[in-house]
């Protein structure tokens, strides 16, 4: 299949079909957003017995998934990030994480990618609140191939997990054969002047920024964290020792998410100057991605400016 030219949600659906064919215990759960997740009709028609639509009842979906997981099923539950995280936070906390039931939660259309649905649906907190939950792993793959590797890992590990899923097609950044190890950051660029830490949807923008910095003679080391939790602190500390300057870039509120874990890690292990880029503690709104990136100060040129300023202030 031509995953490279596919929307991420279609990659999600087709990969889910593969996982179901390899292990019939894998299930696809939806809460009336199966078209938005890509699984209607791809999974629904091919594996109707493994496809369960719960209706507009996300809390019910998560607790049902916990019961299914308790019996050895591997339910993948998808909804918009706002509903897959904040709306069901108590169900995820108790029925899934505290009870250690093997549920896979997929938050679709993260952050600014929620566009036309606006402030009610645009969620900038899911990485932060999911990361703050014991027993929970939190992933954010950056492209089609990494998404497949992450999903394969999720299907074979007994581990409550939350994964962000960008729905649109994104530029391919990883090899088709790339592996996923939640304990390892992915160093996409080597550099000595500044470290840029990012995850998920923002990786493509950070790569462009590092190209721009290279034109200026500044070497940016790009660390991508497909797993925000567990967090590979060693990779960050090693890079910070080398560059002495760290910029974090995320499609999230700068409070508590990737920028949060970067600051926690460095302040304890290697105090380093940090600049966090993302949404500065604001709600979302109906807007294009470009408008939001520009408004909140984390477009490519903002990343370049922040990295340059930090690199020169060392």
């Amino acid at each position: 299949m031509d995953y490279k030219n596919m929307e991420m949600r279609m990659v999600y659906a087709h990969t889910l079909n593969e996982l179901i064919e390899e292990n019939p215990n894998v299930l696809c759960l939806e809460a009336d957003l199966a078209k938005a997740s890509g699984t209607n009709p791809v999974v629904m028609e091919k594996h109707p017995d493994n496809f369960i639509d719960i209706g507009v009842a996300e809390a019910n979906m998560i607790s049902i998934a916990a019961g299914l997981a308790n019996e050895g099923k591997v339910p993948f539950c998808a909804s918009f990030t706002c509903f897959a995280s904040r709306r069901v936070y108590d169900q995820v906390t108790i029925s899934v994480a505290y009870a250690n039931n093997n549920v896979k939660i997929v938050g679709t259309a993260p952050g600014i990618t929620q566009g036309p649905n606006g402030g009610t649906h645009m969620d900038f907190l899911d990485l932060a609140i999911m990361r703050a939950m014991p027993n929970m792993h939190v992933y954010s793959p950056c492209d089609q191939f990494e998404l497949r590797a992450v999903m394969r890992h999720m299907a074979v590990t007994k581990q409550p997990t939350y994964m962000q899923l960008v729905r649109s097609k994104v530029p391919v950044l990883r090899e088709e054969s790339c592996a996923f190890d939640p304990l390892k950051a992915v160093r996409l660029r080597e550099g000595n002047d500044v470290t840029i830490v990012t995850t998920g949807y923002m990786v493509q923008f950070v790569m462009k920024a590092s190209d721009e910095l290279a034109k200026e003679g500044l070497g940016a080391e790009v660390l991508h964290y497909p797993s925000v939790k567990p967090f590979d602190g060693d990779a960050l500390v090693e890079s910070a020792k080398k560059t002495g300057a760290v910029v974090s870039v995320e499609n999230q509120n700068i409070l508590g998410g990737l920028g949060g874990v970067v600051c926690e890690t460095l302040s304890e292990r290697r105090p380093t100057r940090v600049k966090r880029l993302g949404v500065p503690d604001r709600f979302g709104e109906v807007a294009t991605e470009k408008y939001l990136l520009d408004k909140h100060g984390f477009n490519v040129s903002h990343i370049v400016d922040a990295a340059r300023a930090l690199a020169r202030s060392r």
Binding site: G55, N60, I64, G67, L68, E71, K73, D90
Partner: protein, 289 residues
């Protein structure tokens, strides 16, 4: 009565077991210094009937795949499940007085990770019936014939998620699911009539597509025959509205709104609660005092 399932029902023996378990529930809650006594005492006959007369389980193999499952969605009633599981032999009776003590495996609210025989964690109200739906659906997908029981509270039924699960269970025709509502008509802040009236409760469940039974939740014969009828329902889930008395069997708390959670500040108070059981039993454990 021995820990193995009784082969013949002798009412006097079951009455005696219920009195004994109520005494132990009272003692371990007093030992913990506080606890949810009212909603534990109201479930004694229901849990004894399930575990000693209805459910197919193996205490020596708590996760046996073909066992019948129980989700105690009103997870704060943990103590009544613990005394029943200990009586069945899931774990030593010596564990019972560790209720809510540091490092215990018997927490106030039921925990599948901690306690052998607890099929599902519960405590944040409203989630357990959904979990039971997932378990029942998995049983069907796995082509197992086990039954899934779920006990919800009446106060818990204020939670919207209960009704989401109610819709799901009937839409998916989960006839391997039997729910029991502990209808003692009291919640923390007052009676259910005062705080959030549930009536007409049976009609609500019927309207949601369930087969509904409305019974006395303390009558051995009615409980046994009704649960069997509920298990036999085909094509839809079954709800047993069990009319119970909160705090039943302990004169200090019986039928009292304040019985939801008691504080037991000292030995004198502890003794008063034990006396209020109306009978004394030798406790099947020693306290490390």
């Amino acid at each position: 009565m021995s820990a193995s399932a009784a082969t013949a029902f002798v009412k006097e023996d079951y009455d005696e077991l219920a009195r004994k378990l109520r005494f132990i529930i009272t003692d371990i809650i007093c030992g913990a210094g506080s606890g949810h006594i009212g909603g534990a005492l109201s479930l004694v006959e229901i849990l004894i009937t399930l575990y000693f007369r209805i459910m197919s389980v193996r205490p020596e193999e708590p996760r046996w795949s073909d066992r019948d499952r129980l989700v105690l969605s009103k997870g704060h009633a943990g103590p009544v499940l613990y005394v029943t599981l200990a009586e069945k032999g899931y774990f030593p009776r010596e564990w019972l007085p560790t209720l809510n003590q540091d490092g215990t495996r018997l927490p106030s609210h039921v925990d599948q990770v901690q306690t052998p025989g607890v099929d599902m964690t519960a405590g944040s109200l409203g989630q357990g019936l959904s979990c039971a739906c997932g378990i029942a659906l998995a049983s069907r997908l796995n082509k197992r014939n086990n039954r899934v029981f779920c006990i919800i509270g009446d106060g818990e039924s204020d939670e919207g998620q209960v009704w989401e699960a109610a819709m799901f269970a009937s839409h998916y025709k989960l006839d391997n699911l039997v729910a029991i509502c502990d209808y003692n008509r009291m919640q923390i802040d007052g009676t259910t009539d005062q705080i959030m009236d549930l009536e007409p409760l049976a009609d609500k469940w019927k309207a949601f597509g369930w087969e509904v039974f409305d019974i006395d939740g303390h009558d051995w014969d009615i409980l046994f025959s009704t649960i069997n009828k509920a298990v036999a329902v085909k094509g839809k889930p079954a709800m047993i509205i069990a009319r119970t008395v909160k705090g039943k069997g302990n004169a200090l708390v019986e039928a009292k709104v304040g019985s939801h959670n008691i504080k037991v500040p000292d030995k004198k108070s502890w003794d008063e609660y034990l006396d209020a059981c109306g009978c004394r039993y030798d406790l099947p454990y020693c306290r490390g005092e």
